[in-house]
């Protein structure tokens, strides 16, 4: 067992990791920036260390500050959570070189999957279905993009090779749009990732975002824990996730699950991970990318499978073997997660401030993951995700009813949240029938002319 684990994150996931460590009997070190001195994770951890100023680059994204904390305060494991340095191969490498275990895959797997065209090539080589797209190592020049788009046929999706979070991503419906949007997307990618390399994918209309949770040990054993439907998203940000995917048959689940396991197996992946697919209306599915970390929405899978994914990630990092075979994975009922963002529900403008009153819902099958408390000041510096409401029930319709009841009970005074948007989604007849795709949330957007929406998820989860 690890002697001391450093939680290299903040907010809901830091709390989640500290709880898992408490159950496992592992003491924790929280790190924080000066903006987070009153944050819940700082209060909950056994030790807490201020590592830098509010700007994430100098605190939660600072590899030297975090590694120095590890060495000075004597941790033997680091859990990166999601976001921040969780998919930074250099960080995983720095941990290894400092003699501390990184709770996640090897640096080379993080780097491999972070290079999207390379990940695509590997999947193609191993027979995992991939969307038609530009070939090779990616495109940097417009004329190559134009040639590639001509071959693929419009519409196409322009994506950043080093992509994530929806940055550097645009749909082009014809050559004219491509000529206009390609340089824009490339500039965005350069600003966000320091990379001018782009690639193109055939853009699928009316597709769903369906991802598979993977568990893999160091001995090449890989299983999947079923899917999550994450099609309800706004500008590549997932808003609501559910399991099971309402349209997936057992046969399809088996087929896609096998493809996901193969995707992880062919690269020798270990620890938790997620294989993201697009599911077309005709039942065809395509690999889009792999996330090499725990996801925001991991709780949904935990409720349906009764498997604690954060504890599993820690045990796998310790070198334990998988405790379950694929056949032992059992699914029970339906789960829905509502991501509560501190934002104006109509304008989506972030709403930091002091939470004057916080009452979280409870009861059977209701779970709240949050770092909020009465009097807590939501800082302006970080992600607006402040809580996750996860409900579980025997059937999907019961889960929807439970989610609605819990959302109505949830009190977060002092800041604005998107709870009203969640209620609208859950009340929508198409949602209730399970008939939705990645463009679903556009129906609640004020018709804004000229805005470019990309109904496709990446996001940090």
């Amino acid at each position: 067992m690890f002697k001391k684990l450093l939680v290299a994150n903040r907010g809901t996931i830091a709390i989640r990791i500290i709880r898992a460590c408490r159950e496992l009997g592992i003491p924790t070190i929280a790190i924080y920036s000066t903006a987070d001195k009153d944050a819940l994770h700082v209060k909950m951890a056994d030790e807490s260390v201020c590592i830098g100023p509010p700007a994430a680059e100098d605190s939660y994204l600072s590899i030297p500050a975090i590694v120095s904390t590890v060495l000075t305060y004597g941790a033997d494991a680091v859990h990166p959570g999601y976001g921040f340095l969780s998919e930074n191969g250099d960080f995983a490498e720095a941990c290894r070189r400092s003699g501390v275990r990184f709770v996640g895959p090897q640096a080379r797997h993080i780097r491999l999957m972070g290079d999207k065209p390379r990940a695509r090539r590997i999947m193609i080589r191993h027979g995992v279905p991939v969307l038609p797209g530009s070939e090779g190592k990616g495109v940097t020049e417009l004329r190559d993009a134009q040639a590639s788009a001509k071959k693929l046929g419009f519409p196409v999706l322009i994506k950043a090779a080093a992509g994530g979070g929806g940055k550097g991503m645009r749909i082009a419906r014809d050559q004219q749009e491509l000529a206009r949007l390609f340089p824009l997307a490339r500039a965005e990618s350069e600003a966000a990732f320091g990379s001018r390399t782009m690639y193109l994918e055939k853009y699928l209309e009316r597709a769903r975002h369906v991802e598979f949770q993977i568990l893999a040990d160091n001995y090449r054993n890989v299983i999947h824990l079923g899917e999550r439907d994450c099609s309800i998203q706004r500008r590549h940000q997932k808003v609501l996730e559910e399991m099971p995917c309402p349209v997936l048959t057992d046969r399809m689940r088996d087929k896609m699950g096998k493809a996901a396991v193969r995707a992880a197996q062919v690269v020798g992946y270990a620890n938790v991970g997620t294989i993201e697919f697009l599911l077309a209306p005709d039942g065809q599915f395509y690999f889009i990318e792999m996330n090499t970390r725990i996801q925001v929405e991991h709780g949904v899978t935990e409720m349906v499978t009764s498997i604690d994914l954060v504890k599993e990630s820690i045990m796998l990092a310790m070198g334990e073997k998988l405790r379950l075979s694929q056949r032992q994975v059992k699914y029970s009922g339906a789960a829905i997660e509502c991501r509560i963002y501190a934002e104006d529900p109509d304008t989506h403008i972030p709403s930091p401030g002091i939470v004057s009153n916080h009452h979280s819902p409870g009861g059977l099958g209701v779970r709240v993951e949050t770092a909020l408390y009465d009097g807590y000041q939501v800082p302006v510096h970080y992600d607006p995700l402040v809580a996750k409401l996860i409900v579980h029930a025997e059937r999907r319709d019961l889960a929807i009813a439970r989610a609605k009841a819990a959302l109505r009970e949830y009190v977060i005074d002092g800041i604005k949240t998107n709870i009203p948007l969640h209620l609208k989604i859950l009340d929508d007849p198409d949602f209730q029938r399970g008939e939705y795709a990645t463009d679903f949330l556009r129906r609640f957007e004020p018709a804004a002319a000229g805005t470019v929406e990309v109904p496709r998820a990446v996001g940090n989860a």
Binding site: K37, D46, V49, A65, Y73, S98
Partner: protein
């Protein structure tokens, strides 16, 4: 070590603002010093050191980096404890740590401390060292004055912004 390895190291040093770097592996040992370092005569001989001007926080001294640990029941926070209730007089300033690391009062285990309480220091004089990732960072006084109190013990882990030394500017 190959030339291109050294080039990569130089880039890394620049990226992370390191002034000196010493690496030893199977192939041998290399020590790199970037040009911007201050005078090197008085450097500790045992280790590379980069110099940093101490950031002082004016009184009153609610050190920003120190969490307000109000009745946090279960959590026991050992290391930031030194900063608990520091009484700063209006004419005093606090030297705080610019990084997470280990606090050292001297350049080497058997060397004399840089400063003692009551000492007068000049601007730019080394006050202590913070070791972070095997790098020795000298903390210099940003003002001339008198050392009133040294708040940390030799070898103690310190946080970002943790109060280290109280100085009374001259």
């Amino acid at each position: 070590m190959e030339l291109r390895d050294i080039k990569a190291l130089v880039l890394l040093m620049r990226e992370h603002g390191l002034l000196e770097l010493e690496i030893e592996d199977k192939k041998g040992k290399v020590r790199l010093v970037r040009g911007t370092a201050a005078g090197s005569d008085d450097k500790p001989s045992s280790a590379a050191a980069s110099r940093l001007i101490a950031r002082t926080e004016p009184a009153p001294a609610a050190a920003p980096g120190v969490p307000a640990k109000k009745n946090d029941g279960s959590a026991s926070k050992g290391n930031a404890g030194a900063s608990g209730g520091i009484d700063l007089k209006p004419n005093q300033k606090l030297v705080v740590s610019p990084m997470v690391g280990t606090f050292y009062r001297a350049a080497a285990a058997n060397a004399a401390p840089f400063v003692e309480e009551g000492d007068t220091v000049r601007k730019g004089q080394a006050l202590c060292i913070i070791e972070a990732m095997k790098m020795m960072n000298e903390i210099e006084a940003d003002t001339a004055g008198r050392v009133v109190r040294i708040l940390c013990d030799n070898g103690q882990p310190v946080e970002y912004n943790q109060p280290l030394i109280i100085i009374e500017p001259a």
